[in-house]
Symmetry: C2
Subunit: 408 residues, 2 copies
C-alpha cells in the first residue's frame, strides 16, 4: 500500500488473534464520529508501554504507568477515547480516568487494574463522564462490535486517515502476528507526541521481554518522527500479547519478533508523519557519516523540525542552505566543510553540496524531487559510519488553518 | 511609536553623532530595491560584536570575528548587503568578504582591517562581486548619501519594515546618543538568527567595556526573541562608538550607558519579532516565579517556539493547554500543579489556570486578548522569584507562503 491506508486496507485490517474490539460514537466529538473504542484480550495479556517524557502528563498516562507497574503487566483491555485529552485536569482528571477503567472492566468482568486508558483531544477540559459511561454501556452490546479499522478510526482527531500496520514474525516454531493502529497528526515530536498507538500480538511473551522489544522499536520509529516539534502530554504506545498462538518468544525468537515489531512501529510512525496536520507529503531525512547514531539523530531531528526546511519542501524550493543551517545549530559536532547533500533516493539521487560547497545543479529536477511523496533528503556528515533516519512532513498553510481553529 | 517604525519615524531617524551613511541598489535584489549600505565613522571607532553560535558560519561572520580580534577593535566602517548571505561558500566566500571590506576601505581611505562586513539573504550562493564593486563605487559619491533610515532599509530581506531605535544615556557629564538599526524576519531564534543589527553611539568607550555592555544587552534582547526556532548562519550584532561626544564611559557611567544600550537592543528585538515573516502581532511571553532566570528563559523559549501556541494566538483561540504542554517539555524543572496562567497585561489580566487546573473563563474575552497587539501571556511557575520575558509573533499561513517561495 502507499504510505497511508486505503479504505480496502482498513476493511481488511485485523488485530492479532486473541483480541476483539468495539467502537462507538458517544458524543465527545461534536460531529458524531466514532470517539470511543475498546480493545480486549480473551485472556490476560502481557503488556508494555512507552509514555511521553513531557513533565505535564495527562491523567491516563499517570494511571497507565501505575497500572503497568502494579499489575505484573497482565492486562485485559484498553479503553480509548478521542475528543478530550484529560490533561491538566488534576485529581478530578485522575479520578475520571480511574472510573473509565473501572467501567470498561465491569463490561468485561475484569478488574480495573487490568484495564489501560488512552485519551486524546483538547487539553484542559474534563471528560464528560456521562457520555463515557453511556458509551461503554453501548460497547458491551453486539452492535458495537466492529472491524479493527473502526477502532483505529475512533482514536483519530485531526488525522485524515487512521493508521494501521501489521507484520508476521517468522519464529523457529511458526509465525506470530503483530498488528497495531495509531493516531497522531499535530503536537508530534521525536520524544513522543499526541500520538497514541496500540499494537497487539498473539505471541506468548513475558512482559519484561515485551517491554525491551517495545523500547527498541520505539527508539527507531515513533521517536524518529516530527510534525511540529511540539511534545504532547498524552503520548502513549502500548503493546499487548495474547499468547494464543502458543508460540513463545524466548532468546532464540527475540530477534525475529523484535524486527517484526519494529517494522509495524516504523510503518505506523511513517503514517503519522505523512498525515501530519496540513501535510501533503512524507519527508525522509537520512543522516549518514555521523560519529554516532545519537549525533545522526540529533542532526536529522533539527532538520525535520525546521519550519524553514519544511516550508521549502512544501514549495518545492531547493533552498538547501536551510538544511545545512539546521545541521549547524543542531548541537551535534558537525564540520560544514565535510558535509555532502543529496535530494532523492537510490536511482534519482541529485547531489547539491560537496564538502560544504554548492554544486551547480538542475533546479527544475531538484524542485521535482521535493514534490515527490516521499521526499528523500540525505546529508552525509563525513565524520564516521553511523546513521539515522528521521521522518517528517512538509509545512503548509493548511497546518496553520487547522491549528488556529482547533478549539474554537 | 507603535512597535514598528512609521515612515515619519524613519525620516527622523539619525545615527549617533560621528557616523555617516550611504545606501544604493546595486542589483543583488532582483526588484531594484536598496541592497547595499555603508556606515562609517569620521574617526576610528571602538567596536564590539556578538555573532551566531551556529556551527555553519557565513564568510562575513568568520571575517568579522577575526577583524575584531585582530584590530584592537578600532573600526572605521561597516559595509552591508542584502540579497545574498555569502554562507556555505567556503574559501571563495571568505575571499569575497575580504574583497568587499577592501573595496569599502579604499572608498574611505581606510585599511581593510578597519572594515566589518554584514551579509544577509540566500544561503549557498556566491556574492556577485561585480555588482558589489559597482555599488561601492556608487556609495563613494554624494548621490548615495542617505538618511539612516535608508541604510536600515538596504539590509532588509523579507522584513515588511526597517527596524530602528534610539535612546539617550544620561551620564553624569551629559547625555550620549545610542542609535541603531536591525533586520530580521525569518530564521529567528533566541541564540541569534538571520538577524543583523548595527548600533552606533557617540560615547567614548573602550572596546572591552563596550563588548561587556553589548553582551549584557544582547542576552536580554536579541537572545530573547523567536520567530521560527531556526538559527541563522549570519547573525551579527555590532556596536560602534565614535567618541565624538567627548563623554567617556567609565565605571561611574557604565550602568546608565548599559541601560540605554539595552533599551535600544530590546526595542530592535521586539520590532524583529513583531515583523516576523507573516506575523500579524507581537507576542510577549512573561515567565515569572521561576527558580532561576535561565529556567524562566528556557520555559519562555519553548512556549515562544511552539507552532501550536503561535497558530492558536493567530486564530485567537484560547487553547491554553498548548502553553502548559510547551512548558512541560521545555526541559526546565516545572511542577504542573504550581502553574498559573494569565492572558493580557496589567489592567486587562484574565486568569485561565490556577495551580495547574482550568478556571472557568470568558472565552470571548480570552480570544479578544489574543487578538491585541502585543499579546501578553504570563505564566507563573510558582517555584521562585526569577523571571524572563521572551518575544515572538503569531504563526500565519502567510509565513508558509513567504518561505515556500523564497528562492524560487
Amino acid at each position: 500500500m502507499s504510505v497511508l491506508a486505503s479504505d480496502e486496507d482498513l476493511a481488511r485490517f485485523r488485530l492479532a488473534p486473541g483480541f476483539e474490539c468495539a467502537a462507538t460514537a458517544c458524543g465527545l466529538k461534536r460531529n458524531g464520529a466514532l470517539d470511543l473504542a475498546l480493545v480486549w484480550s480473551t485472556g490476560p495479556a502481557s503488556a508494555a508501554g512507552v509514555f511521553t517524557t513531557n513533565r505535564v502528563q495527562a491523567a491516563p498516562v499517570v494511571l497507565d504507568r501505575g497500572t503497568l507497574a502494579g499489575s505484573a503487566a497482565r492486562i485485559r483491555a484498553v479503553i480509548a477515547n478521542s475528543g478530550c485529552a484529560n490533561a491538566c485536569t488534576g485529581e478530578r482528571g485522575l479520578a475520571d480516568a480511574r472510573r473509565m477503567a473501572a467501567l470498561a472492566a465491569a463490561a468485561l468482568d475484569a478488574r480495573a487494574e487490568e484495564v489501560l486508558v488512552l485519551s486524546t483531544g483538547v487539553i484542559g477540559a474534563f471528560l464528560d463522564m456521562d457520555k463515557i459511561a453511556g458509551g461503554i454501556e453501548v460497547l458491551r452490546g453486539p452492535a458495537a462490535r466492529r472491524a479493527a479499522g473502526d477502532a483505529a478510526r475512533a482514536i483519530t482527531t485531526t488525522d485524515t486517515r487512521p493508521k494501521i500496520a501489521s507484520a508476521d514474525a517468522a519464529l523457529p516454531g511458526g509465525a506470530v502476528r503483530i498488528a497495531g493502529f495509531a493516531k497522531g497528526a499535530g503536537m508530534i515530536h521525536p520524544q513522543m507526541a499526541t500520538m497514541l498507538a496500540l499494537v497487539t500480538t498473539d505471541a506468548r511473551i513475558e512482559p519484561d521481554r515485551l517491554a525491551r522489544a517495545l523500547g527498541a522499536a520505539v527508539a527507531r520509529s515513533f521517536n524518529r518522527i516530527s510534525v511540529d516539534g511540539d511534545m504532547s502530554t498524552n503520548d502513549t504506545v502500548l503493546v499487548l500479547a495474547s499468547g494464543v498462538s502458543g508460540m513463545s518468544v524466548g532468546d532464540a525468537e527475540a530477534a525475529a519478533f523484535e524486527a517484526a515489531l519494529a517494522e509495524v512501529c516504523a510503518s505506523l510512525a511513517r503514517q503519522i508523519a505523512r498525515d501530519g496536520e496540513g501535510a501533503t507529503r512524507l519527508v525522509e531525512i537520512a543522516v549518514t557519516g555521523a560519529a554516532s547514531e545519537a549525533q545522526a539523530h540529533q542532526v536529522g531531528d533539527a532538520i525535520a523540525c525546521s519550519p524553514l526546511v519544511k516550508t521549502a519542501v512544501h514549495g518545492g524550493d531547493p533552498n538547501w542552505g536551510r538544511i545545512l543551517a539546521a545541521a549547524g545549530y543542531s548541537g551535534a559536532e558537525v564540520e560544514p566543510e565535510r558535509m555532502r547533500l543529496w535530494f532523492g533516493g537510490p536511482g534519482t539521487e541529485l547531489a547539491l553540496v560537496e564538502r560544504g560547497l554548492p554544486l551547480a545543479f538542475d533546479a527544475a529536477r531538484a524542485s521535482a524531487l521535493l514534490r515527490e511523496d516521499p521526499v528523500v533528503v540525505r546529508l552525509d556528515l563525513g565524520l564516521g559510519a553511523a546513521a539515522a533516519t528521521v521522518w517528517t512532513c512538509d509545512l503548509s498553510a493548511e497546518y496553520v488553518r487547522v491549528n488556529a481553529e482547533y478549539t474554537t
